[in-house]
Symmetry: C2
């Protein structure tokens, strides 16, 4: 088992010095978010993550969640107690409005805290992550009664929430949802159908679970416009909030998964006894649109899982490399830890540098969401929203791909011990592997980026961002950062060329868009996070941070520009070659 | 569960048309290796792999190998029967000399066949793979008596072999081996010590197991020169070959691993009852040198595991992508399989193209081993050996890295189903993850390449290979291949520059060598397999192969040059940047 050391100093550095807490804290909504408060929350969350969640990560993996004979799910040992402490701390409501019982803190801070939950125990953290999604959907579209009855109890963590979207035939393509919702005449609906891949679809940590369910009303049009969103509580709740009879929804099985064993992934059956009682959220036919309102936060949260697992895998690999003796020190001839080897250092630096870059990108995107919600000026708010929309598919896809790569490198650093489950390094790889898949596969993220976010927008939002990046480059004056600024400037030239190809070739050619999506999104992610690394480098070469933090940060940044950013050129070549070769233009590859 | 279709047509194409069977079959040793015989063996092996080994791959993973209370190991259901059939086919001895009961066929053909064993069932195929290593070590260094007593029974498969190298403190650094071998005066030794990570260290498929064990004799010098190699049979064998008493070696536990569950990875304890009887192979103090004689074949075999798992993962992903309907055909509006999406095709092409390139490289390296063993001219033999030595660390490192990447892509193509163990896609990733680690980590392979194979040799063997590659480029005349030849030529220019940096900077700087090793080895692997893809392209654009094979091969090659080979430029940039930045020259990164 490995310890988890919360990367609080990097969060503080990024929030205060790179992202600029002031831009967020100056928002009227966050007038009470002082730098001291931010630091105190980070410390407190770090403590909870390392002392409560991290110690049960490995045992949870071994034990897993189990479906009992009575059809209920038992979580792994320690889960229920940890969840109770999580609620006591008020953590579920960190970014929820104070008026509804939340802490009312910026999404920026909530994101930093969430990364620590995910790093310490991804299987546990999925429960609050899904509840947060349900809170957001219900908060935006629920009636006053629904808010009173469900929302406050979800924000407090008293009840958890689930998202019931997927069915066996309806995964990436939700237009194929078949679950039915038939009005009963008393304002409620009878829900029937089967939903799969329902995270924490059942568990024993709370008295009730609030399922949000996509289903089709009778006579609804085919496709996405016929889908509505319903509240289906596990136990019926009376108007006064008392828990009543069991609703007609049962967990029929749990999936046997590669990783996140302690997170119960349920098959839920609705209406085996005639129909589960469901309550319509908002209007009929708008279910999918409502889901979209929570998509940015959910994708950001999954992206952070990639950052988190990278951080955890890095810490464990670093610890092992410092302690495992094998071979000799060339100077002294003494037994030496494997970290002295340049190749081991390269692996560790890949992990560290990419993790820090992806963290910077995710926190920057989170800050854009705060600005998009709370800036006073309409135009400025729209711009921030456009920037968040642009960045979030990159956060999701790039960070989760990195999560897999870094967890795999973590195994490699361990040598043979990495393949042995007791070591715990392999668990990170198994856990990490789901993140590129769920909440929209990374292929879908890349398509969202190249299509909705760049091509349809004629690169407006991207162009504005690149202008900001160019301004940073022009502002950099000190030595090492100056050289990095030049490297980034060249990378932006190439991104400009790729973007021109994309705009020209993809606007009327969906197939070309699909082929270019993945390398283009990766090229953009590398450049934009390079920008944030340049800002970090620029600040860190000045001062105001501890010497050891400064030295480490400068090495991470330098490594990024020397060793990682050049992948953007590789991606640019892939893009160029796709369009220059006749074969690819005219013929599918299969 | 997924079916396995043996890629016999690609083997045939590569062996006959690209590697050139004639260069191997013309060797006097292989005068009977006719093209028809080669095809017949490939067909037969393919049948066995797909009908006997593939069907128990998934069940073996679920069931695993188990250590029983009596200290013996029970293999998974079907294992014993499959192994018996494997022996009946004579497959263990495919490349062993006919004089010792083998088939006496080229390593080239043995390698193709071995890839099919690994692709159909990696956990099973590890047993013959380890036995082959033991056969080679014993064949090269065993006494006449030892050959009679053990070797023939191992070649027939009647007994299996193991390699006992690793101890808890002695992994990559075998100089730290502590197991002891004390002479008893009757020519035998008493062996004591604990060995870990012993593949098929115990099992129930054969009556006896021949353990080859590294141990230290009393008064032996410290370090690698004090280590000797011993035969320690599980059951003592009389001079007439009768199986006698149980030797003092016991399996004390099996590792709980990420993958290859059906391959028992044993902790073996030698000498709990006073000492296991061991028989010295060759001379004292030469144990590690003897191990080195089998290293090329063993590393080639592990490299092939990477190719194999890539092939298997590709086939399964392709099948899924062709059948999983999600979304609509943009032309017809009908439900469409996900393979219509450009991004899915990109993932599948990455898998297919890299698999074919890595296969070509591994078979080419295998052919060099045949030439190195059997060419008549001393100089030509030495040149072939130098080329094999040069290529094999690349085969091992690059192919096994690809194995992990491709298995991971295979999971991704499956979407959510890929994360569910029942699908079987995740097993490939779990199985693949060991190959970059064992038989010398990929970091060690890269160091071997950059150090022993390039720098020490002042790029002599590499230079000769590059000259051959340039000659191919000059010979290419037809259209598409001509363009690819130009691309490869540029890549070779860059490889030349990287090599110049390596020779100049690494000859006297071990640390720099360690830092450059991984990107340099990868750059070289991409270029050299690119050469084989160019040869494949050149042949395939002519004729003599079926139209559908030809079309698919041309697409694979085209994709390699457009989308995969450009990674070599990325690696070249990493190398250049390592040496140009002051920080990296003078300071360790940690």
């Amino acid at each position: 088992m490995s310890d988890f050391t919360p990367p609080v100093s990097d969060f503080r550095f990024l929030i205060h010095n790179v992202i600029g807490l002031d831009t967020v804290a100056d928002l009227p909504a966050f007038s009470e978010t002082s730098p001291d408060l931010v630091d105190a929350i980070l410390e407190e969350a770090g403590k909870f993550a390392s002392s409560v969640l991290a110690p049960i990560n490995r045992t949870g993996d071994q034990e897993g969640a189990r479906l009992l004979e009575d059809g209920t799910v038992r979580t792994a040992s320690g889960w229920k107690e940890a969840y109770a402490q999580f609620c006591e701390g008020g953590w579920q409501g960190i970014s929820a409005p104070e008026a509804e019982g939340g802490m009312g803190l910026p999404i920026l801070l909530g994101a930093a805290v969430a990364e620590m939950w995910q790093a310490s125990n991804m299987a546990f953290a999925l429960c609050p992550m899904l509840t947060a999604g349900a809170i957001e959907a219900l908060g935006a579209h629920g009636s006053e009664d629904q808010r009173v009855l469900y929302l406050s109890r979800m924000i407090s963590g008293e009840w958890t929430g689930t998202m019931n979207l997927t069915e066996p035939q309806a995964g990436s393509d939700l237009s194929k949802v078949r679950s039915m919702a038939v009005p009963t005449g008393d304002g409620t609906y009878k829900i029937t159908g089967q939903k799969i891949f329902i995270t924490y679809g059942d568990h024993d940590m709370t008295e009730n679970i609030v399922h949000l369910v996509l289903a089709r009303t009778p006579d609804a049009p085919a496709g996405v416009k016929g889908i509505s969103l319903f509240i289906v509580p596990k136990f019926i709740v009376s108007d006064s909030g008392e828990i009543g009879a069991r609703n007609d929804v049962t967990c029929v099985s749990l999936e046997h998964k590669l990783g996140i064993h302690a997170s119960p992934t349920a098959v839920l059956s609705f209406g085996d006894q005639g129909g589960a009682t469901g309550y319509l959220i908002g209007e009929e036919g708008k279910g999918l649109a409502y889901m979209f309102t929570m998509m940015n936060n959910a994708r950001l949260a999954v992206g952070q899982q990639g950052v988190a697992i990278s951080e955890r895998a890095y810490q464990q690999a670093l610890e092992y490399a410092r302690n495992r003796k094998q071979g000799r020190d060339p100077q002294t001839g003494d037994d030496a830890p494997i970290i002295i080897h340049g190749d081991v250092q390269r692996m560790l630096m890949r992990m560290r540098s990419s993790t820090e870059a992806a963290r910077a990108l995710s926190l920057y995107a989170a800050a854009q969401l705060d600005l998009a919600h709370h800036l006073e000026d309409d135009k400025a708010r729209a711009n921030a929203q456009a920037r968040a929309d642009l960045l979030i598919p990159l956060v999701k896809a790039w960070s989760t791909d990195l999560g897999v790569d870094n967890a795999s490198l973590g195994v490699q650093v361990h040598g043979g011990m990495g393949f042995i489950e007791e070591t715990g390094a392999a668990q990170h790889l198994r856990d990490a592997r789901i993140a590129p898949i769920y909440e929209g596969t990374n292929g879908i993220q890349a398509l969202d980026f190249i299509g909705r976010k760049v091509t349809r927008d004629k690169a407006g939002a991207l162009g504005a961002l690149i202008a900001d990046m160019r301004a940073t480059i022009a502002d950099v004056t000190n030595g090492d950062a100056k050289q990095a600024a030049g490297t980034l400037s060249n990378a932006l030239d190439e991104l400009g060329k790729s973007t021109a190809i994309v705009i020209e070739r993809c606007s009327a050619d969906d197939r070309m868009m699909q082929v270019l999506a993945t390398p283009y999104a990766r090229q953009a992610a590398l450049c934009i996070s390079g920008w944030l690394m340049l800002r970090a480098m620029s600040v860190a070469s000045q001062n105001g941070v501890s010497d050891s933090f400064q030295a480490a940060k400068l090495k991470s940044c330098q490594f990024f520009f020397d060793q990682l950013l050049p992948e953007a050129t590789f991606m640019a070549t892939q893009i160029k070659n796709c369009t220059s070769i006749e074969l690819h233009e005219t013929q599918p590859l299969f």
